[in-house]
């Protein structure tokens, strides 16, 4: 691995972790699309600040862009509060306007400089290692790391300090307000954090992929845990893994790093959605199948109990009869009988079925429930 490769992975991993942390609260507050709005709408702020400073590395760019991000949230919420426009439509109206203003500004006035629409959408992670942060001629590492590193720390500190307040206002904003915790202020603080993170990550991975890194890892973690702290840790971890896996995928297929990172975040989600231990599709299907089988066993034992020691016993308590009477397919009847025999509830003598003592007790119990 060359130093440049290591730098890229480091930048990608730090960016992914920084995005995933506030993303957890976006997902839980059901405002995931705010990240989409913010990550696009910061563009005009970035461009205008660039016109003023004429320096792409100026910290003023981050401040101006983050302010535009918060302005976006304010505009969207003001528009949806009028109740003439629903919130999703308000998001769809506000951010494309701001984003397109940014695009026009770049195309019209900044075509000669190193600020172009491709970089805005997809970032330029591959070149990030060549942009060094130097003080007095000493190389202190890639500049992007000096942007995303502090942003990651900022996010960690904010979440650690206001963890309790964020949790309460996300779960129950009414109680948070009643207890005097200013959920509105917390909301804007969180949105400011999302904006700052989006601006920083924008440079590395572009605006579309910021959304992938903010939303996909938390949505994945949400399927794996039911504790908030675990969800935060898992989200950051999944983000970092997606970033590194994405880098090597891009390396292998010689393609866009940022694109591969977002794809990997999507793959991680898809795999988890299918195979998560409790909430995954497979686990759910298994649970349903086993519920169906257990219920079939119950029906079988209850049916046998019902006809035990009656004149119909000889006719009712036979395997072929189940198919007709309980409307089971021959396969399913065999499956249910096998399961009941295996569990020791039923004895089978050729076609003739009879209950065991535990089977009788279980059937009686089942009928009481």
């Amino acid at each position: 691995m060359t130093p440049a490769q290591l730098d890229i992975q480091l930048i990608a991993a730090v960016t992914a972790a920084a995005c995933a942390l506030p993303g957890v609260f976006l997902v839980l507050r059901r405002v995931s699309l705010m990240s989409d709005a913010i990550s696009h709408a910061i563009l005009p702020g970035l461009v205008l600040a660039f016109f003023v400073t004429e320096n792409l590395a100026s910290p003023l760019l981050i401040v101006a862009a983050a302010a535009t991000g918060v302005l976006t949230v304010v505009l969207i919420e003001a528009l949806s509060r009028t109740e003439r426009v629903k919130e999703d439509a308000a998001i769809g109206i506000v951010f494309p306007i701001l984003f397109s203003v940014g695009v026009i500004l770049i195309a019209r006035f900044a075509s000669g400089v190193h600020l172009d629409v491709d970089a805005v959408l997809l970032g330029e992670l591959a070149f990030a290692p060549f942009n060094r942060f130097e003080v007095g001629g000493v190389d202190l590492g890639p500049q992007a790391l000096w942007v995303m590193g502090p942003i990651l720390v900022l996010n960690l500190v904010f979440l650690a300090v206001f963890f309790k307040e964020l949790k309460l206002s996300t779960f129950d904003a009414g109680l948070a307000a009643a207890l005097g915790f200013a959920p509105g202020a917390l909301h804007y603080a969180l949105m400011t954090l999302v904006s700052v993170t989006a601006v920083g990550a924008f440079d590395a991975v572009g605006s579309i992929l910021v959304v992938a890194l903010m939303i996909a890892p938390p949505a994945t973690a949400y399927l794996l845990t039911d504790r908030l702290t675990t969800m935060l840790g898992l989200s950051a971890g999944i983000g970092v893994l997606s970033a590194i896996a994405g880098y090597w995928t891009a390396n292998l297929f010689d393609t866009s790093i940022a694109g591969a990172m977002a794809t990997m975040a999507g793959v991680a989600f898809a795999l988890t959605f299918a195979f998560a231990p409790e909430r995954g599709l497979v686990a759910q299907a298994q649970r349903r199948r086993s519920q169906r089988r257990t219920f079939a066993e119950k029906m079988l034992t209850v049916h046998l109990l019902h006809h035990e020691n009656t004149p119909q016993e000889e006719r009712e308590c036979r395997v072929p009869h189940l198919q007709e009477h309980l409307r089971w397919s021959p396969d399913f009847a065999r499956l249910a009988v096998d399961a009941a025999v295996r569990d020791g509830y039923v004895l089978r003598d050729a076609d003739r079925l009879s209950l065991t003592e535990p089977g009788r007790a279980w059937a009686q119990e089942s009928m009481v429930d």
Binding site: R30, F171, G174, A177, A178, L179, F181
Partner: protein, 248 residues
């Protein structure tokens, strides 16, 4: 001795439509009061307005003679069960501890003492065994008990509860009523949005009849009359048998 709750001239409007119209209300300490009225009468809005959760067009609320903002520690609030996301990744114990966040203030985290207090409150609602349970696995009645425990742990003087019996089974309803009555006997004041007119005389000692305006307020024996109910519900009294209503 000031009243537990004093509301004067409280008006809440949605644009130019009044939701609550000039409400005056004086609730003495130690009563268990039901708020009843038809759908859209403003019952929930009244509670929220008293707690400063909605903008009021006019009027004020005093808790023991002071504005609510200065008396937060004296007040516990149980919102409607449906107002929160029960898929939120947290445990029963954690939700109950949220009741103590107000006392802890900003930044400070709950510790051993808070855990113990929350477990004790869960015990009171018969849910100690479920302390570590993820909240999405609770039944409606259990969710309501968790909310109740979260209010109990605040050890407040005044309790505002928005439909604590909504969607709970008969056993849970009994258990909750017993708890509310114990709180009242301990000198607490409780204001409860309630839907079932039938049980008002049995559960409560005070009642507020509300339909945008305050139609009547006072001891159940005095104001829970057929005439007042007719005023409140516009002639049709739902779900109520004449026998359970006091004749004027």
């Amino acid at each position: 001795m000031p009243n537990a709750i004093d509301v004067t001239d409280l008006t809440v409007a949605y644009r130019d439509t009044p939701v609550l119209w000039d409400i005056d209300l004086a609730v003495p300490e130690g009563v268990l009061m039901a708020i009843v009225g038809p759908n859209g009468a403003g019952k929930t809005t009244l509670i929220k307005a008293m707690l400063g959760l909605v903008d009021v067009a006019a009027g004020q609320t005093l808790i023991y003679g002071e504005p609510y903002a200065r008396q937060r520690s004296l007040v516990a609030y149980v919102p409607q069960r449906g107002s929160v996301d029960w898929d939120f990744p947290t445990s029963v114990l954690d939700v109950v501890m949220m009741g103590l966040y107000g006392r802890l203030g900003w930044v400070k985290r709950p510790g051993k003492k808070e855990r113990a207090a929350a477990l004790e409150a869960l015990d009171k609602v018969g849910m100690q065994d479920l302390a570590d349970r993820q909240i999405s696995q609770l039944s409606g009645g259990q969710q309501q008990r968790v909310f109740l425990a979260r209010a109990l742990v605040q050890d407040a003087q005044v309790y505002f509860m928005d439909e604590p019996f909504q969607g709970v089974d008969a056993t849970t309803e009994r258990a909750i009523v017993t708890l509310l009555q114990e709180l009242r006997q301990a000198g607490k004041t409780l204001v409860v949005v309630h839907h079932d007119l039938q049980t008002v005389p049995e559960y409560f000692d005070w009642v507020l009849l509300l339909n945008v305006r305050r139609l009547a307020v006072g001891p159940v024996a005095e104001v829970f009359t057929e005439e007042n109910l007719r005023l409140t519900y516009g002639g049709r009294i739902p779900f109520v048998q004449a026998a359970s209503v006091n004749e004027p």
